[in-house]
């Protein structure tokens, strides 16, 4: 990412063409929560090109090193770039070969620095990142936004999930959820998102990370119910409409 000399300034038109102005191919919400053995994270597999649901097999959750799981919403190319930075980070960490490895807290801190510094140059990585992991029995779940806002919590969500999923999580999350209950809770949130978020796609993956490692489920679909009486004869109130 080259910066033009200072005489041009950061907001001039030539520098403009090199800054991220809008996202192009985007992923929608990621929802995650802490459960008994670790972290559970869910994200659908959609990549939208504006309002077109263009890509339907996009993996928006990736494992980072031995202890972390990263989920991203927002610009997918920026997510891929972040994965490359993290790959190098983990590689150098591994090459020390000293028995230590970066845990989720460290990766979260690194991501926060990257996102915040990019934002300061008016050239953000257009993502909301969810970072969850377990190291030495300690569970960790955090979030970083594209402007570098970061925090740690027992349950997080990005994008529309902030508005639709978090209220559900606040009501129904509790300490020491079992795996099955955690998945049910996540599916409840994802179902609401599927009904109400225009960029949601009915093909999702659920990933879990525990002390033993990361497992990302095979893609599957949620059952939906559209048999409401109001849908059976939609033009009942106004002939000729649709």
């Amino acid at each position: 990412m080259e910066q033009k000399p200072f005489s041009r300034g950061l907001l001039s038109s030539e520098a403009d063409s090199q800054r991220t102005l809008y996202p192009y191919v985007t992923g929608t919400s990621v929802v995650a929560l802490k459960y008994k053995d670790g972290i559970l994270m869910a994200a659908d597999m959609g990549g939208s090109y504006g309002s077109t649901l263009r890509y339907k097999t996009v993996e928006r959750m990736k494992s980072i090193g031995k202890h972390s799981l990263l989920g991203a919403s927002g610009e997918l190319s920026d997510f891929q770039e972040i994965l490359r930075y993290l790959d190098e980070l983990i590689l150098y960490d591994n090459m020390w070969d000293d028995g230590n490895s970066l845990g989720p807290k460290e990766v979260h801190s690194y991501l926060t620095r990257v996102m915040y510094n990019r934002r300061n140059k008016f050239n953000p990585l257009w993502n909301s990142l969810v970072l969850g992991g377990v190291k030495n029995g300690q569970k960790y779940l955090g979030m970083v936004s594209m402007i570098g806002v970061n925090f740690e919590d027992d349950h997080v969500a990005t994008g529309f999930g902030n508005h639709l999923a978090r209220p559900i999580l606040r009501e129904e999350w509790h300490e020491n959820l079992s795996f099955e209950d955690g998945v049910k809770l996540l599916e409840k949130c994802m179902r609401v998102l599927l009904y109400r978020d225009r960029s949601a796609v009915n093909k999702l993956q659920i990933a879990k990370i525990t002390d033993e490692g990361v497992t990302v489920s095979q893609p599957y679909s949620l059952k939906t119910f559209w048999g409401f009486s109001a849908f059976s004869n939609p033009t009942a109130g106004a002939e000729g409409s649709w």
Partner: protein, 249 residues
């Protein structure tokens, strides 16, 4: 074979009348004075071992690493001036990550060896740079299978199935030649490398040493890593046993 290069040995940019560059040969002497470093290529991977001479009783075991990972699939064992070695390792790491950034796949070991050799050679071309005083055994496992390369201070790099540099290199080479490497697995290779290092270690001249070993084989999922503790202990025990049997004769 040592000859006095009076007058022709002051700069690395001077040839002697018989076509030698003495500074490079002197650099090679620095390698010959360091602890032995061995690498072998077995049928399922490579094994490298270093005789780390302990200069002070106060040194913590496991410190002063002589074998470094350069990428996921390859590593380097360094003999000679340790600080020079660190430079080469840093450069190799940088070349490897650069290649992966550009081409999207892990750097082939052959390519890495060429780049490292190029870099070492570079420092023999200018009068304001001195040659590296270290030799490097580069071992890795890529699409073409396990490979072993030796890079000397002159910038020469050859591919080997068994290589040794350092104090005991002559004795070590003889021992390696006795091994049937094409039929050996890395597990067996570890024991052999340990035995050779213990054997060529000169008890009289250098007191203590620490054995450092690494491998990149099918068992380690083609990643370069330190040999696991239990296997290392097993190898050391077997090596000590072999030594005792030899002494008993």
């Amino acid at each position: 074979m040592s000859s006095i290069g009076t007058g022709y040995d002051l700069s690395v940019t001077t040839f002697s009348p018989d076509g030698r560059v003495f500074q490079i040969e002197y650099a090679a002497k620095a390698v010959d004075n360091s602890g032995t470093v061995i690498g072998i290529k077995c049928k399922d991977g490579i094994v490298m071992g270093v005789e780390k001479l302990i200069t002070s009783k106060m040194m913590l075991p496991g410190s002063n690493r002589r074998i470094h990972s350069v990428h996921r699939h390859s590593g380097m064992a360094v003999a000679g001036l340790a600080a020079d070695g660190r430079q080469i390792v840093a450069r190799a790491k940088s070349e490897a990550t650069n290649y992966e950034s550009t081409y999207g796949e892990a750097i082939p070991v052959k390519e890495l060896a060429q780049r490292v050799a190029s870099y070492v050679h570079l420092c023999t071309l200018y009068w304001w740079l001195r040659p590296f005083g270290c030799g490097v055994i580069l071992g890795g496992y890529d699409r073409d299978g396990p490979q072993l390369y030796l890079v000397e201070p002159s910038g020469i790099s050859y591919r080997y199935f068994g290589a040794a540099i350092g104090k005991g290199k002559q004795a070590a080479k003889t021992e390696i030649e006795k091994l049937k490497l094409s039929e050996m697995t890395c597990r067996e290779g570890i024991i052999e490398v340990a035995k050779i290092i213990y054997k060529v270690h000169d008890e009289a001249k250098d007191k203590a040493f620490e054995l450092e070993m690494s491998w990149a084989c099918d068992e380690s999922k083609r990643q370069h890593e330190k040999v696991p503790e239990e296997l290392l202990e097993e190898a050391k025990a077997a090596a000590k046993l072999a030594l005792e049997e030899m002494d008993a004769d």
